[in-house]
């Protein structure tokens, strides 16, 4: 918790969360993330009175921009991307705290200038030495920026303030590079200062997994190997690489999606109840899950995973090119755009229960969900003929786009005979709450300013995750090319066979 809890006027207030005055320094201030997500998110927080007096932003980037030009570009982007639009008087007041620091990331003079600006803001705007650095740059620059921050003495605050750093994904591209980056980070920053961001954890529905599991008493007793047949986690995207062919060639689906987003969904689904809803208690339990996953040896990757790559097809009825025809992609590329994985969490709760993960680009629709498929009833009283086709119960947590939870169960069709049909009991967020959820980045930026790291990934979790993923990456390096699948379909046929061999099938989404 932060010092603000010592403010007696906060007690009983409905709006509990306001950080201390601080400056957010964004490295990569001219990039897309800053303009589409970060500054619009900060502006929305300001509009909702969630930012403190004196709150300031410094953009740090290489381009020859001035304070005025930087503000103008942000003005345009906030107008376009802010979920609440832009109100002129508010923007003017918010923009008074925005400035720009031009420098290359490896120039010590740029960091010296930054230090002077930060000190001036402490004086002029009362930011009290509180700084939040945000690395919104390509990952290749992370180590340089961190090193320079340390060299300039910006890793610690004067006057008892706090200094924190948010590092965007991907945190490394394999185990070795992640560890090298971690070493570079820890040379300069203490782990308690580091906030590794995965914006999936800022989504309301992802956070609701914990509430659903641990604020209700009826699910936990059946949330284990005794009742669960298997778990399917799907993150489907209908888009292709969207002009990011160069990036994707180096990343591929497993780095882009599995190591971070899907692993987060898996850990939240499989973790034990934490001792408390406190950052390290929650993160301890998540790490235990990752460590309990049975490693996949390099020679076994084809047995436990399927890779695919989309070919020309359609998206929403319109023709789209294949991956190898995308800009920036090698025409003979073997980069995967789809992956399906079978993982086992080897602990007392989950031993023997397969977790099937699948994600890909150019699938028929954008859909993310976690489906817990329960074992069938032990005795089929009603399985008396062709009219009945009893299906197992499935509890589905839908992350996007229609956030909600649904339970599928069997029901009798009204009539003189005992005909059975599956029905669903649906909870939809927008039907019960009807309010727009804040953007994931807003929640996470606010959490970082408040010093709450619960929804950020800790060093040991990243390490455990890469320890699991790296052998799979290495196994595929010498393996066959990804299976082709037509854009607009649910991945390669081999993926269906992957589950069918175990007597299961992918859910129809």
């Amino acid at each position: 918790m932060t010092e603000s809890t010592t403010n007696p006027l906060r007690s009983g207030l409905r709006m509990q969360r306001t950080p201390e005055p601080c400056t957010v320094v964004i490295f990569g201030a001219t990039g897309d993330l800053t303009h589409r997500k970060l500054v619009p998110g900060l502006y929305n927080l300001y509009r909702e009175r969630l930012l403190p007096p004196g709150f300031s932003v410094i953009g740090f980037a290489r381009r020859e921009w001035t304070d005025e030009y930087f503000r103008q570009t942000l003005y345009d982007d906030v107008k376009e991307f802010s979920r609440s639009g832009l109100e002129e008087p508010l923007w003017q007041s918010f923009a008074e705290g925005i400035s720009y620091n031009r420098s290359s990331f490896d120039d010590p003079a740029g960091y010296q200038a930054l230090a002077e600006k930060l000190a001036a803001l402490d004086e002029q705007r009362g930011t009290g030495g509180n700084r939040l650095f945000y690395l919104a740059t390509p990952p290749e620059s992370y180590a340089t920026i961190i090193e320079q921050l340390g060299a300039a003495g910006l890793n610690h605050s004067p006057n008892g303030g706090w200094t924190r750093i948010i590092i965007e994904k991907p945190f490394g591209r394999d185990l070795n590079s992640a560890r090298a980056l971690d070493t570079a980070v820890h040379k300069v920053f203490d782990e308690s200062q580091v906030y590794r961001i995965d914006h999936y954890l800022g989504k309301e529905t992802v956070q609701n997994i914990l509430v659903f599991r641990f604020a209700n008493g009826i699910f936990e007793p059946v949330w284990n190997r005794r009742y669960v047949d298997h778990v399917q986690i799907t993150v489907g995207e209908s888009v292709g690489v969207e002009g990011r062919g160069n990036y994707y060639e180096h990343a591929g689906t497993i780095r882009d999606m599995v190591q971070n987003h899907l692993m987060q969904l898996l850990t939240l689904t499989a973790m034990e109840p934490p001792g408390s809803y406190e950052a390290n208690s929650v993160r301890d339990e998540k790490v235990k899950v990752v460590r309990a996953i049975r490693p996949i040896a390099r020679e076994d990757v084809a047995k436990y995973s399927i890779r695919g790559q989309y070919t020309a097809g359609t998206e929403g009825g319109k023709p789209v090119p294949g991956y190898r025809e995308e800009t920036g992609v090698d025409p003979s590329s073997n980069t995967e755009t789809y992956i399906a994985l079978q993982l086992f969490v080897e602990n007392w709760r989950w031993a023997g229960v397969p977790f099937y993960l699948r994600t890909g680009k150019r699938l028929p629709k954008r859909a993310s969900e976690i489906a817990i498929q329960f074992k069938s009833a032990p005795l089929m009283l009603f399985d008396q003929g062709p009219l009945n086709n009893i299906e197992p119960n499935v509890l589905t947590i839908k992350v996007q786009p229609d956030e909600g939870i649904s339970l599928k169960f069997e029901s009798k069709i009204p009539g003189q005979t005992t005909q059975i049909r599956p029905v669903t009991m649906d909870f939809r967020y927008n039907a019960s709450f009807g309010v727009a959820s804040p953007e994931a980045y807003e929640r996470l930026l606010l959490d970082a300013m408040l010093g709450d790291s619960t929804l950020f990934t800790r060093s040991d979790e990243v390490d455990a995750s890469w320890s699991l993923i790296t052998p799979i990456l290495e196994g595929w390096q010498n393996g066959p090319a990804p299976e082709p699948y037509e854009a607009g379909t649910w991945g390669p046929q081999a993926s269906d066979a992957f589950l069918e061999s175990a007597g299961r099938k992918w859910r129809k989404l």
Partner: protein, 370 residues
Amino acid sequence: MTSIPLGERQPVDIGAIEKDLAALWKQPLGGDSQRAQITRSCVMTLIAVVSGQREANEVTSAIIQMTDRFPNRTIVIDAQPESGGESLEAWAQVSCQVPAAGSTQICCEQIAIEARGAGVGRVPGAVLPLLVPDVPVVVWWPRSAPLGTPLFERLNAMADRVIIDSALIDEPEGQIGGLLAKFGKGRAISDLAWGRLTPWRELTAQFFDTPSAVSHLSEITDVAVHYRSRPDGTVDRLQPLLFIGWLASKLGWRTAECAECNRDTSMKLQRPDGGMVRVSLAAIPGDLRHDEQIEGVVMHCDHASYQISREGERADGVIVATREGELAPLRRVVHLEQVDLLKLLAEELRQFGRDLGYEQALGAAAAMVA
């Protein structure tokens, strides 16, 4: 947002409303809207007690506009005990919100009950079986609550939460001391007059979120609250008193004797360290905006001052200014949305449990005017 009726409002047999509602749900979607898939949802039973058809229509319309946020079964009771005769009639209707693109269409039930004369006494018995099982019951008194009447007592007894607006009660300042006893009885109370203060309290609290600023809280010497008088020129100090009561309850200030104080505009409170806080309440003539009385707050300490004031005539912005020690003064424009009835009500419907902050502020305010 627009609402469309799912079938017409129909007179129903008061003893068989559930059956009639079930029939209404089977009717085709009204209007020329698309026959979209509709979702029936209900997170509470909301009972509103009004007087007269016009008020009933206003209240029903307001509640329907909140359907997307708080799908509910609404029971609007038009109770006029003074009218002659004895009657009790009911109408039922299902309305749907026209959804935003990509959203689900939510439909809810409205039941209107009209009671006249001695028929008012039969209202609680008619309402009780209409409560939706397993969801909270909220009773809202949109106008002056008929304190002490049997209808008031019996409907409140069904409620998990009672919503009132103490600003609408006759001579509210004189009633401050007795409000909790009359409304509360251990159940959760929402007072819309208190809700209007929420953004002012949040902004005030925000001044003291830093460790260095917290220390100034125990050094406050002066608090001035500027507030609007009523349109007819009369002065009602309820909201400023609640605001000062909130500060006093949180900071441990006690009412002190003050020979030189003008009871209507100034008072003295004593801090826990024995220091004195001068409080001034300054009325400003002019129109109220959405029954919001507070126009500005100024607080002084020995080495700091804090001010929140309206930004000219702009209704949805305030200027927040801070001066602390040697630091450069800070001034910023802050969004402060107009707190109209719908927003106030929506905020209260989000709450569960008692609001102890309100109860303590009310107690402190009562001590100041005793």
